[in-house]
């Protein structure tokens, strides 16, 4: 079957391009907070992003990829015409990619996740018929788009309130920071490792019992917290930049914590966003291999590696520039605020990844930042921009859908 190779080749190409785009643009939102707060240098940020985006994609990206691959379109209706699914998924990749390019060129804040889901729903509803869409699943996804920023905002609010109470309002914030920051590190590391172990490791062949999973996660988190505690102990007040309350040094203590949450954020981003690029690819491959659609097998590792690799290439070729630019603009998010936002967002995203929900990492992070703002942590938030983000949220879905329908019609006419 020659067509099979054409399909897989095209899919891999488009998927790689999408992954490249995610690495080039999207990663910046996950990493720029850490660069802006000076917790990481740009080089360190790129290293962290490359390693943890890749790990996130490969270890924990499977669930969301499954959802994009087979959760939205009812493949049961396509038993006789599996090639329609191939056209549709190719069209969706093209549509999302095109829409993202248009939006980037105009500076519109749009989400990769929203465009790809909009595109898939669009081609399925129009190209295959309304009944071909798993509306229940789509409804869950759309609700998760509302819930995830709210959840992240709520968690960020609580975390930042605790920082105020335990550290910043105290008589000796520096001593308190040194005491509590390792605890925050422990919980940050615990959340990320626990979700990864519970949800991710099975498909790399490591199957632990529930108890052992918890023990392992607690062990890893404890080791990371210990390393953090040592690093924190070594921070001495810098006399020159200092006033009575030592807030400058306090922020440096939080900087250590932010290195951990930056890793978590990169991991979370990789785990959720890789699916936007390779979910459709996985769908096409399973059709091309088996000639049928329905197979519920796990996403093969090499597809995840392709996606993770694409993200890293995007990061290396272009993304680092964007990280630097965006980082310069986010100086208001000092480590004591930035970690709260990152930890809240990363936790929300990793849990969504574990349950297979494709959410927008950037919107979740924006929600978390607003949560810190509501706790009076941010000097100035521009509500007009928040409004614009909301509008683009609503517009992106029909735009992605429309483009997908156009590409689907073209591909159906052109491809064998």
């Amino acid at each position: 079957m020659e067509a099979e190779f054409v399909y897989i080749g095209l899919a891999a190409l488009f998927g790689l391009f999408m992954a490249w785009g995610i690495g080039a643009n999207d990663v910046a939102n996950a990493m720029a907070t850490s660069v802006g707060s000076k917790a990481l240098t740009i080089k360190q940020a790129i290293l962290v992003a490359a390693v943890f985006e890749f790990l996130g994609a490969v270890l924990a990206g499977g669930e969301v990829t499954s959802t994009i691959r087979s959760g939205i379109v009812d493949a049961g209706l396509l038993v006789d015409t599996p090639e329609l699914l191939v056209y549709g998924m190719l069209a969706s990749l093209l549509a999302a990619g095109t829409w993202l390019a248009i939006a980037s060129a105009n500076g519109w804040p749009v989400s990769t996740t929203h465009s790809i889901v909009g595109a898939i729903v669009g081609f399925a509803a129009v190209g295959l018929g309304i009944e071909a869409v798993h509306w229940g699943q789509v409804g869950t996804i759309v609700i998760s788009w509302v819930v995830s920023p709210l959840t992240a905002g709520f968690i960020a609010y609580l975390i930042y309130q605790s920082v105020l109470k335990l550290i910043l309002h105290q008589d000796d914030p520096l001593e308190k920071a040194k005491r509590y920051v390792p605890v925050y590190i422990f919980f940050a590391a615990l959340t990320i490792t626990l979700v990864t172990i519970l949800k991710g490791l099975t498909h790399v062949g490591l199957d632990l019992s529930l108890h052992n999973s918890y023990y392992l996660a607690i062990g890893i988190a404890a080791v990371i917290a210990l390393i953090g505690a040592v690093a924190v102990r070594n921070i001495r007040p810098d006399k020159k930049a200092e006033k009575k309350q030592h807030f400058h040094t306090v922020e440096r203590v939080f900087g250590i914590l932010m290195i951990v949450t930056a890793c978590g954020m990169a991991f979370a981003h990789g785990s959720n966003d890789v699916a936007n690029a390779i979910g459709p690819v996985a769908a096409i491959i399973s059709v091309a291999h088996t000639g049928a659609v329905a197979s519920k097998s796990a996403v093969s590792i090499w597809v995840l590696v392709l996606g993770g690799g694409g993200i890293v290439i995007g990061l290396a070729t272009y993304g680092w520039k964007v990280i630097a630019t965006v980082g310069q603009k986010i100086t208001q998010l000092t480590p004591s605020r930035g970690f709260a936002a990152e930890l809240a967002a990363a936790t929300t995203i990793v849990i969504a990844s574990g349950t297979g929900l494709p959410i927008s990492t950037t919107h979740t992070l924006v929600g978390a930042v607003l949560g810190v703002g509501l706790a009076r942590g941010i000097e100035a938030i521009d509500l007009r921009v928040v409004g614009r983000i909301f509008v683009s949220w609503v517009v992106t879905i029909p735009a992605g859908a429309l483009l997908a329908i156009v590409f689907f019609t073209i591909l159906k006419a052109v491809l064998p």
Partner: protein, 224 residues
């Protein structure tokens, strides 16, 4: 797309407000040299200082306009925008009063009578000290934002404002003494000159008043 996150941060008014207060104090501080030159009858020196005062006042105005321009209504901040604008306004008045008072003195080539000169220079000195204490308090703004306007940092700033109030009370007492001293000798002086010396005393005293109002505005921020 990538700048979505960066753009939700509006330009923070905190550092510019501190900068503005710094310029306003720099302006007020010139009054020491200015009046020293006036008392010594060195009008060239006084004119040179006056030029500096005018420049600094203008710079303060420029920063004030910039802050207002960027402090748009769509900003969500931990403290009300109006309170920050009010703070900016009283800070600016410190520079304005400095310019006004130096303008009158230079315009009329006013001579401060020798018998009250020492009292007067001491009075100027404490008014400048009040402006300095106001600057010290405003410089804590960034720390206040960091601390979320609660806890120990608030105690620190409250203590600074109390100190500011003490200085202002001191200038009030000095002003009373100065007026009394002037009253004793006013019969022997040109009435118009006397009226203007009273005016100069009032305007100079307003520098400490404005500094105190900076403290009041800061207190309002603390109560949020």
């Amino acid at each position: 797309m990538a700048n979505m996150l960066a753009n939700i941060f509006g330009s923070s008014p905190v550092v510019p407000l501190e900068k503005h207060m710094g310029i306003a104090f720099d302006c007020a501080r010139q009054l020491r040299g200015f009046f020293a030159a006036v008392v010594a009858g060195n009008w060239d020196e006084a004119a040179a200082v006056r030029t500096q005062i005018v420049d600094l006042e203008r710079e303060a105005d420029k920063v004030k306009k910039e802050i207002r321009l960027h402090l748009s209504k769509s900003l969500f901040m931990p403290v009300p925008r109006e309170d920050l604008l009010e703070l900016l306004l009283v800070q600016d008045k410190i520079a304005n009063r400095t310019k006004d008072v130096s303008g009158i003195v230079i315009g009329r080539k006013m001579v401060i009578p020798e018998s009250i000169a020492e009292l007067f220079l001491g009075f100027v000195d404490r008014n400048v000290a009040a402006a300095k204490q106001a600057r010290k308090s405003v410089r804590e703004l960034d720390e206040l934002f960091t601390a979320g306007f609660r806890g120990n940092e608030v105690k620190l700033v409250t203590a600074m404002i109390e100190e500011l109030d003490c200085i202002e009370t001191e200038t009030d007492d000095q002003q009373v003494a100065l007026r009394a001293a002037l009253f004793k000798i006013e019969a022997d002086m040109n009435p118009i000159d006397v009226v203007f010396i009273y005016k100069v005393i009032d305007l100079t005293g307003e520098i400490a008043d404005m500094a105190e109002r900076v403290g009041r505005r800061l207190e309002l921020l603390l109560s949020h």
